[in-house]
Symmetry: C2
Subunit: 428 residues, 2 copies
């Protein structure tokens, strides 16, 4: 195997440029470790004239990623364009059909079409790898697919969107409002073109669905992820959480339960002293719990040129070495369609309600909770602010169903203004 | 590849029993993930009659591990006996010569004979994998060898001996003396038969030397690891460190410097707020710094039946899948012999001296430090205790060479009783 491994790189944004730099600057290292030279045959991106700060000399240019994917001098199609459909999907499918191995950083594509793509890869006897699609430089896909393959996985938890963690951290550390922290993240270029992908939890939900598939031998089911973004988390919530020893994190959790596959991505309270609670800024963290290995925690940069390119290169070097692992760790036909288990096990919840300042308002709220079977651990009414008063409640363990019943009935009390905020207190 | 992968397991201690249990209890999972059944053909251990709490029905018994390693019905020789020489070495060599893949948890064997064994594996076109030899269940060998192969590694740091970390944690949290914490760890069965392997830093040094080889493309050089155990760390040191915002950890550090390969395993002060500082009890942690990926932190159980067996199974499943990676991540002939760089870069140090209560004693010590070019950041003399007084000093950044010069001259002052304790303050 001393023939060079020839890459076709589609997408020359941050990550693509990072990959080109590594291939150009580390030829000897890559050849020593991969066992053969790694070269770029051709590239493809939107603009041919843009200065990307790296030389593209010696690479053919393709305007069409599908044409790139099918070139005879491409062994590995490296998909760094992004997008769940459109050119990324067409080119990935074309590459697999043409018998090319594929390395992808595209979480949206895999979350929406992972099963079909895995089947296509196996039909062509090629591999489709995606370490860079989940948590940037953290080697969690490989750890789960390979290192921990002797485990039944009990639970995976993770903070997998650095932008959301940055916003929540800035709200806490600098006392910024959500809007201010959002604007700051935007100014730093941290947000996706469609910010809802970040702050709506969608991007992190994509990643969670990929890990769940590997962990539990199930078909990727992004649509079954219970998604809740961070847009309704207020500085008040963060302060109250801190006062109780918690931090607010956009936390992904997946577990296989007796009722089916639980996949949740939502803002949760986690103990401030836990590894997840201590995770500040744009960093990501994964917590994997296996029946044999116990708890493994992995922390690192979840985005950025170097970290994401590092993950892409890991997959490419695997292919250079001849490593062949199925997309989700077992044959795609053996991946089962899991029943979605909504709402998770019972847990305590943090609630913030805005009450109208009327006599008996608090009693009405307490009654509604009681009728739904939700019992109150702690309650605190803040000093009045014009005609409303915020009320903060920590419940005892309750099911989400019971809580939703209570929240739905709040409207009927006539004393609750705005939609209540309910944050799960997660045991980590 | 639907032929079963057939194992020969040598050593039925904690880890061996764990592996047998997984193979027996997870046949369907292993077959789905490995792509073929995984079976045990034969086993070998010291005692044939001992009740190990797991059935060995259906496995042949071999008294001689070399015979086990050479059996026709063994594809993978799983070496879980331990020991740097003797039967473990003979059987591993026999397996490699006989064309068997080898999965080993034996850090001592690999640290002492890694280069020769890697060459033997390549000569026979077989693989020698050893995830379980480093940090138990934490998939650090794979992360470094595969996931991060596109990085130039800047530094690896790690707490890799859970027993030492347990002792140091107990000294701090329960105020135990070193001797008391040692006795407690011994009572819990945490110590190796030769405790010096743990508390002398040897076991952790073995692990560090293996990671250094992968990270820097160098031949394993355990003899070049600067080793210092935890036996001279006192409760006083731990308290003083805590007062300054530090914790004492048996910390491994390796770096490639302009002067050569630095490998150190010694008790160090690390910031109490850092991930390494927060690591309590028997848990292990690795911090890998790559030029692309930045800092990756991995935490998990460093020992025990389940975690170590998980690592062994990861290697076995890799082999079942057909993954072939060279022992240290690149061909053994390409691994270079690194010049050892002793003593590391300049750093601040914590010193504890026991001074005789004589007039001018402190001035003499300060003069000796000054003459060696070691400048003092902070100094504190504790209240007198009979005829001696402990003096605690934090130096400004200094080289170990300068410090050693000063420490060597302390004896000549006639005012220093006992050997001074010097702990590096590591920037993590």
């Amino acid at each position: 195997m001393t023939e060079p491994l020839r890459l076709g790189i589609a997408g020359l944004g941050t990550v693509g440029v990072g990959v080109v730099k590594i291939v150009r600057q580390k030829a000897a290292l890559l050849e020593a470790r991969g066992g053969r030279p790694i070269r770029i045959s051709a590239v493809c991106a939107r603009s041919r004239v843009k200065d990307r700060g790296v030389s593209l000399d010696g690479y053919d240019w393709e305007d069409d990623p599908v044409a790139l994917a099918q070139r005879d001098d491409v062994d590995v199609f490296v998909e760094l364009m992004g997008g769940s459909d459109g050119p990324a999907k067409a080119a990935t499918e074309a590459a697999l059909r043409a018998g090319k191995d594929v390395v992808s950083a595209n979480k949206a594509l895999l979350a929406h079409h992972g099963q079909a793509l895995a089947e296509a890869a196996e039909a062509s006897n090629v591999v489709l790898r995606f370490e860079a699609a989940v948590a940037g430089g953290i080697p969690v896909v490989k750890a789960l697919t390979e290192s921990l393959a002797g485990n039944d996985i009990n639970r995976i938890m993770g903070v997998m969107n650095g932008t959301c963690n940055y916003i929540l951290t800035r709200m806490e550390s600098a006392g910024l409002s959500y809007e201010e922290a959002f604007a700051e993240a935007d100014g730093l270029g941290y947000l996706e073109a469609d910010p809802e992908l970040d702050v709506g939890g969608i991007d992190a939900g994509h990643k969670l669905s990929l890990l769940a598939s590997i962990a539990f031998g199930t078909q990727v089911a992004f649509d079954a992820v219970e998604l809740e973004g961070i847009g309704r988390v207020s500085i008040e919530d963060i302060r109250q959480a801190a006062g109780m020893g918690y931090k607010v994190k956009l936390l992904g959790v997946c577990r296989m339960t007796g009722r089916g596959l639980e996949q949740r991505m939502s803002p949760c309270l986690v103990p401030a002293s836990s590894p997840l609670g201590q995770l500040d800024g744009g960093t990501n963290m994964l917590v994997i719990e296996g029946d044999q290995v116990g708890q493994i925690v992995m922390r690192g940069a979840g985005a950025g040129e170097g970290p994401t390119a590092s993950a892409v290169m890991g997959d490419i070097i695997d292919i250079a070495r001849g490593t062949r692992v199925t997309t989700f760790g077992q044959p795609s036909h053996s991946l089962v369609q899991a029943t979605p288990a909504r709402a998770g096990a019972a847990a305590p919840y943090y609630l913030r309600l805005t009450l109208l300042d009327k006599p008996g308002a608090l009693a009405k709220v307490a009654a509604v909770l009681g009728e739904a079977g939700v019992s109150i651990d702690r309650m605190r009414q803040r000093s009045h602010d014009k005609e409303t008063a915020p009320v903060l409640i920590v419940t005892h363990k309750t099911t989400r169903a019971a809580l939703d019943t209570a929240l739905a009935a709040m409207d009927g009390t006539g004393v609750v203004r705005d939609e209540p905020v309910a944050l799960r207190i997660e045991k980590v």
